[in-house]
């Protein structure tokens, strides 16, 4: 999804060294562009009361020696939605991101992404067998799933609740306040994928329809032009 550019990291470094005012102007323009999305995304964070009540209650155990499932607090989730205009360190593949919109709180991130992978919640542990039945007087055929019994150990990726429908109920609550929206622009070739799907920042980004992205690109172009107008020679790489 990110737009690929060349030489901007170098431009920003040079601006920081030789024209800090341009860097500030660039950050301000990018910030203005992204703030509209951030504001909209914050608006998609529901109130505590709109979700399952147990998720927003403080943890009952003060002596737990593990990290409990993060609680949701609407104010914190809204506060921690923001933007960053400083380039990131290059990842393992060598990519650096110049501008980002983040949903940094744990509760907010869960609200953002829950249901991406398993729309009905995490599966029960290992299905042992399936028995197909033919409904004699009922509505039709059905199947009975038998699962291996769950021991006390935590199994990542599986439903660890005593309630087999916990995930489903949780997601139903989330979906009632906001559906998952894919931010990938329509018309692009390829599978949209689940990683660009979310309820707050991704939804806001999708509804922005590329305006913020265009504004960021314009800010970059402006910064480059202004940098050259100041008399610096900044070699632009061929596209």
């Amino acid at each position: 999804m990110p737009t690929e550019v060349k030489g901007v990291v170098e431009l920003l470094k040079a601006s920081k060294e030789f024209a800090p005012d341009l860097l500030k102007q660039y950050q301000m323009e990018v910030g203005n562009a992204l703030y509209t999305v951030v504001t909209k995304a914050r608006g998609y964070i529901p109130a505590d009361a709109a979700l399952l009540s147990g998720w927003s209650k403080p943890s009952s155990s003060l002596t737990a020696n593990y990290r409990a499932f993060p609680k949701f607090e609407s104010g914190e989730a809204k506060r921690k939605i923001g933007y960053k205009t400083t380039p990131t360190k290059a990842n393992r593949e060598g990519w650096s991101y110049l501008a980002r919109i983040v949903n940094a709180s744990a509760g907010g991130a869960i609200y953002e992404t829950a249901g991406r992978l398993n729309k009905d919640g995490q599966p029960l542990y290992k299905r042992k067998s399936v028995v197909y039945r033919t409904g004699g007087n009922g509505p039709g055929d059905f199947q009975i799933n038998y699962y291996e019994e769950k021991d006390n150990s935590y199994r990542k990726g599986y439903n660890n609740s005593l309630n087999p429908n916990a995930g489903k109920q949780f997601l139903k609550s989330l979906n009632s306040s906001g559906e998952l929206v894919n931010a990938r622009p329509k018309g692009l070739v390829g599978n949209p994928g689940r990683k660009s799907t979310g309820r707050a920042i991704y939804r806001a980004w999708a509804e922005d329809e590329g305006r913020a992205n265009a504004a960021v690109m314009k800010a970059i172009a402006t910064a480059a032009n202004n940098f050259e107008k100041k008399g610096f020679v900044f070699r632009r790489k061929a596209a």
Partner: protein, 654 residues
């Protein structure tokens, strides 16, 4: 999950890319090493022989089939076609040869077989069917059984299938799938297959990085060129192998011994750094062997070749070592390795250029940062220079001050000024004063000029301006003096300025003392009168005052100051007493007025209180005729005016 983010603008940073390229090259080296070197030259040779044998077997079968079909003359062109097809599409010859053989057997015509094979390749590439399945369906269709073609699920209409018109079906397939194999051949997967075809001995899964790296490393501009280079190398190396085979046959024992030697050498060469090192090792090995050939080993081999001629190429297990041990082949291999080495040089040049480009790009920021550091260093240097200059200026100033002490010219000027001042004290006439004043002013101007020169030398703008201003003012005064348009009062400033400033100004002191005397005298006169009051008699004792003191020149300053302080305190005390007495007199006056009654009073407080208007009933107010007197005065005035002609009537009045 702690940070869900939308990444908006991304940039691929070169450093990691460069590392990645380096890693890819390293992987490539490992891959090539595993394919060609890691398994040992024996394995490399064995695979080559096996591949050669398998290919020979397939081609021999095809050749035999064509021969049986009466198409023997097409054998060479078919082989060439299949080679090119394999290279162009990445298909294995082991698949193509049987396919073509089947089609040729069915159609009994190489042209039809070629057409159908091309079509089958396109259909296979454009659908999910394997080449074998498509060939089989086409073969059956050619024989009239079009049902198999329908099972290909490539959109052939059932009506068309029912007609059994293979021509129409082929046209449809051509129209639908034309160019599919060519397109597919350009896909990444097929590029890998094409490379795999070209280097089928390697049998390694070659990734994209390997493809690109191989292309770069060999200086190839395209995959086709890379294929050609690989094939050329293989062909020429194969020729060398064939050449050496005869020698192996004749020198087995000697070569086995040599193989052991060479294996040790080979291991000892520690080939671990990939193809570059391998090529270098090849060259080193070749050079070593050339030397060996010309020395004892060469002689030994020659001897053993005569003594132990053995047959059979089956001893290919030691083929790699023997390859390099065979003297006759060594030269040929050396030549090939040299060629590869030269390509490696080209490759090194290309890679070096690429590296230089990357370094250049990555160096931009570094240069900028370094430039910033240089700027900062320059600024620091300038700052240090300024500090030094400041210190130097201060030092020069101090030196200048010190120099003044020994400046003869200044000493002379000062002496002249002092002399003029003494002369001024002795002057008795105005003319003398004027002459002295002129001289003094000239000396002063001379001093101003010196000061200005020093100021100019110091390059201190403020100091220069100040000195210039002073000089101009003094020049103006001198001009005034010389034009004689002056008064003594006008030059008083000049005279005063040249008088030496004593620590205690006697004149001022005398003036102060005179003031004190006057004050004491007034006090003495004040004390000489008696202040009488009924209620508050004067508290100042009669005759109590400080007598005026006349100081002589020997009186000390401290004594004078002490006397002045005492006189001041006393004067203040007397002033306070005087005020009290005045107030007491005022109060007694008020009392006295009260006894007299209201006489108009001196103040509001005097006319108020119990006494004021106390006898108001005794005052008789009589209203008299206030107008009679006034009328008389007016009448007299009118009469006199009329009498003296000053008629007050308006003109025309009755």
């Amino acid at each position: 999950m702690s940070d869900v983010s939308i990444n908006i603008v991304s940039q691929f940073l070169g450093q990691k890319a460069f590392d990645k390229a380096g890693n890819s090259a390293h992987k490539l080296a490992g891959t090539v090493k595993r394919a060609l070197i890691g398994v040992g030259f024996e394995e490399f040779a064995r695979r080559s022989v096996n591949a050669f044998a398998a290919n020979e077997k397939e081609m021999a079968g095809l050749s035999n089939t064509l021969k049986n079909l009466g198409l023997e003359m097409q054998n060479a062109s078919v082989a060439s076609y299949l080679d090119k097809l394999a290279l162009a599409t990445g298909a294995l010859k082991s698949d193509l040869v049987p396919a073509f053989q089947t089609l040729a057997t069915t159609t009994k015509d190489t042209a039809d077989a070629t057409t159908l094979l091309n079509l089958a390749m396109d259909v296979s590439a454009g659908s999910t069917n394997s080449l074998d399945t498509v060939i089989s369906a086409l073969t059956k269709g050619y024989k009239g059984n079009t049902g198999a073609l329908g099972k290909l699920n490539v959109g052939i209409d059932k009506t068309m299938l029912a007609t059994g018109d293979l021509q129409a079906i082929v046209e449809y397939l051509n129209k639908t799938f034309s160019g599919q194999s060519k397109t597919a051949a350009e896909t990444f997967a097929n590029r890998v297959l094409r490379i795999k075809t070209a280097v089928e001995d390697a049998q390694e899964a070659i990734g994209k990085g390997l493809v690109d790296s191989l292309t770069i490393l060999t200086g190839s501009t395209s995959i086709d060129e890379l294929q050609k280079k690989i094939i050329t190398f293989g062909t020429e190396a194969g020729a060398a192998f064939r050449t050496l085979a005869g020698f192996v046959k004749e020198n087995e024992t000697a070569l086995k011994n040599l193989a052991a030697i060479l294996a040790g050498m080979f291991i000892g060469s520690k080939i671990t750094a990939g193809i570059y090192t391998v090529i270098g090792a090849f060259k080193a090995l070749s050079a070593t062997m050339v030397i060996l050939r010309n020395t004892a080993i060469g002689a030994y081999i020659a001897e053993m070749a005569v003594l132990n001629p053995l047959a059979g190429l089956a001893a290919a297990a030691g083929i790699a070592a023997t390859i390099y041990g065979v003297i006759k082949s060594l030269d040929m291999l050396s030549t090939k390795f040299d060629k590869v080495g030269s390509q490696s040089s080209d490759m090194n040049g290309t890679a070096a250029a690429h590296l230089a480009q990357l370094n250049k790009e990555f160096g931009v920021t570094k240069k900028l940062v370094n430039y910033s550091k240089v700027l900062t260093a320059e600024e620091l240097k300038q700052l240090a220079a300024k500090k030094l200059k400041l210190a130097t200026d201060k030092a020069n100033l101090a030196l200048g001050k010190g120099a003044d002490v020994f400046d003869l010219e200044k000493i002379q000027l000062n002496a002249a000024m002092i002399g003029q001042a003494e002369a001024l004290g002795k002057a008795t006439t105005s003319a003398q004063i004027l002459a002295i004043t002129n001289d003094v002013q000239r000396l002063k101007i001379k001093q101003d000029m010196l000061a200005l020169e020093e100021a100019i030398a110091s390059q201190d703008v403020a100091r220069i301006e100040s000195a210039t201003k002073t000089l101009n003012a003094d020049l103006k005064v001198l001009g005034t003096l010389q034009s004689q348009s002056f008064t003594l009062l006008g030059i008083k400033t000049t005279l005063d300025s040249i008088k030496p400033k004593a620590l205690v100004d006697q004149e001022n002191l005398n003036i102060a003392l005179d003031k004190i005397r006057e004050m004491l005298k007034m006090l003495a006169q004040l004390n000489s009168t008696t202040v009488s009051s009924k209620t508050a008699p004067s508290a100042i004792p009669v005759g109590d005052y400080v007598k005026p003191v006349v100081f002589d020149p020997t009186t000390s300053i401290d004594a004078i100051i002490e006397y002045a302080d005492a006189a001041t305190e006393r004067a203040n005390a007397f002033a306070l007493l005087q005020e009290q007495e005045n107030y007491a007199a005022f109060l007694s006056l008020v009392e006295f007025q009260k006894q007299l009654g209201d006489l108009g009073g001196y103040s509001s407080s005097m006319n108020s209180g119990a006494g004021y208007g106390y006898n108001a009933n005794n005052v008789t107010v009589t209203v008299v005729d206030k107008t009679s007197g006034l009328i008389e005065v007016v009448q007299n005035a009118v009469q006199e005016n009329n009498r003296f002609g000053n008629n007050l009537s308006y003109a025309g009045a009755i």
